[in-house]
Symmetry: C2
Subunit: 363 residues, 2 copies
């Protein structure tokens, strides 16, 4: 396991540092543990002494005293997905700048995994949580955190009935604007490619969501925006144009391929997240249809590849990094003692018009 | 900040759990802290009592006793880059399965940031480190970890002179095979698009690297493989075909555009990582050259978009998730007491032949 010293000197203690610095041990502990009140002089003398002696501060012991672990928990759906990876980068940059660490967990959109992650991380005494909540079924574990005084900030989605800080985009409005743009190009048969919508009549499901100001699921909210745009344009909602696919590139591509083979196929598609967009792009390419003349596509999330595919992809872009960074700043404010009522921060989404959308039949 | 209970009962203590279970407090502490020796009966009685009373074990206090925090540190270059995001997902899956948490840091390929991250995380007493080392300049901080008995596993790259477990692909060999394939198609002027090569004659730099069995930088190792393939094919090495670009999509695309405008331009390009590949793909698209007839491209990393661009992209694919998962398993073995000599695990890379490569002038 690499080099080891044969002879070890006794490691310097906090008492050694205090003696060297000419301060009391409790002052030295406060200075090195970054808690309580210490004069600037005492702090700098203590830090210099610690550095001279090669003293390594034990933050674990310090956490036992302060009750703070200087750690945030980031609970996303899948850190391997580029949206969550960029949000995490935003969280990490803000947290590290403030001297906090970030511990991560993946929920895979499974309420049981989210619950297990929150329980375990609470046992580890993290200072606060940044969560993209799964939101299905019970959310007692999140209410429990709040009851015990641990701050929680939601990002990407929120949970109805749990009133905490949330950093979101207005998914209903963003989707509505995007689909209105498709309508304004003359499209009357617009398909929705979504995932996890659940059992029942899709129109009724989306109708119900449309009246919820903060739907739990981003994909449902975007579906509700789709519905609202059709209503506003006086277009009928045709359930056969709504595809509720499994969350898998292959399965979603197969479902879209089925839709495009029908005689009564749509002239435009709207997809609700980056995996559905990728799968749909691929299905259109393989359908033999002219793209975009026969079938237009508006996707969600502006990924790095959207400008190098042909046609380039029109998308609704969301600020993934900023969602994470803003959530982290809210959490830091709470840890610093901010007791204002919970805030809803809505960040802007942007419609980016590129070549994958044209009027039905071509320009 | 959400719901709070108005009346709180006193939280149950470890003593309450011990009384309820009919065991001594120290037995209860060992059972709930997963350390020391406890009979199966005492363990199950203690766990049942803790569950009945709603006792929340304080892992922080337990860590003070065991010296273990059940936390791994993951130090990658940039968690926002899909390669590191997928490697982290592999680390997290293995760690969580074993009941360990994962704390993250980004080095941005800056030795000073890596040093700061390692120091801070060591203060936090993480149990071990998984690092994609920057490797430039001093690596005393890593030697220091080892000297203090904290296990370290390298992934993606290693550091000459630091003998620890490492999980890598054979970058020299993978690049060499890829470039040999370009040679076998008849290409004689093959460009290398790399980054961070440093000052000096590129041929000499790569020559030196080619004789290092474990180069610190993956991009340098891939450049060395390029050089080895040219030598093996008796092709001259033309330094004017080697582009050492800044690590930025825009700057790299501009540098490749310059190369493609020359009269003596190459007929094929080999790129050393996913950002260079994206930038180069874009530069070729905008050059007005026929792709692949006038210019072939072989990239590194198989990303989700490589099959939806036209032409589809030939790549050397590396197993990002498995690199992370394998590194995590090595670290768990070390934490479990494995004292075998450091292991070098070489995972396979795969050449995937798609449409972006053809013989010079077309098929």
């Amino acid at each position: 396991m690499g080099p080891r010293r044969d002879v070890r000197l006794r490691a310097p203690t906090l008492g050694d540092v205090a003696r060297e610095a000419g301060v009391s041990p409790s002052t030295a502990a406060r200075a090195l543990g970054h808690y309580g009140s210490v004069s600037p002089q005492a702090r700098s003398r203590t830090e210099a002494a610690a550095s001279r002696l090669g003293y390594r501060h034990n933050r674990l012991a310090s956490s036992m005293i302060t009750g703070r672990t200087h750690t945030l928990a980031f609970v996303g759906a899948d850190i391997g997905n580029v949206f969550f990876a960029q949000a995490l980068r935003g969280v990490a940059d803000v947290a590290h700048e403030a001297g906090l660490e970030v511990v991560i967990a993946n929920s895979d959109e499974d309420p049981a995994l989210e619950l297990a992650a929150v329980r375990t991380l609470e046992e580890r005494r993290v200072d606060g949580f940044i969560i993209a909540p799964v939101g299905e079924g019970a959310s007692d574990h999140i209410a429990g955190l709040l009851a015990r005084g641990t701050p929680v900030v939601f990002f990407d989605r929120s949970v109805p009935g749990i009133d905490v800080d949330a950093v979101l985009i207005d998914n209903v409005q963003a989707a509505r604007s995007g689909v209105q743009w498709l309508c304004s190009m003359g499209h009357k048969r617009i398909g929705l490619i979504t995932t996890g919508l659940g059992d029942g009549d899709p129109t009724e499901l989306l109708e119900r969501i449309a009246f919820d100001p903060r739907p739990a699921s981003t994909t449902d909210a975007r579906g509700a925006g789709y519905l609202a745009a059709l209503r506003a344009a006086d277009l009928p909602v045709d359930p056969s144009l709504i595809v509720d696919a499994a969350y898998s590139r292959r399965d979603a591509a197969a479902a879209v391929a089925d839709l495009l083979r029908r005689d009564s196929r749509p002239t435009a598609l709207f997809t609700v997240d980056n995996l559905m967009t990728l799968a749909t792009y691929e299905a259109i390419q393989q359908s033999g249809l002219r793209f975009p003349e026969d079938i237009s596509l508006l996707g969600f999330d502006d990924l790095e590849w959207t400008t190098i595919v042909r046609p380039t992809l029109s998308v609704i872009a969301q600020p993934a990094y900023d969602l994470g960074a803003t959530a982290a700043r809210r959490l830091l404010d709470r840890l610093a003692g901010d007791t204002a009522p919970p805030q809803l921060s809505l960040l802007g989404a942007t419609l980016i018009e590129r070549d994958s959308v044209c009027p039905p039949g071509g320009c």
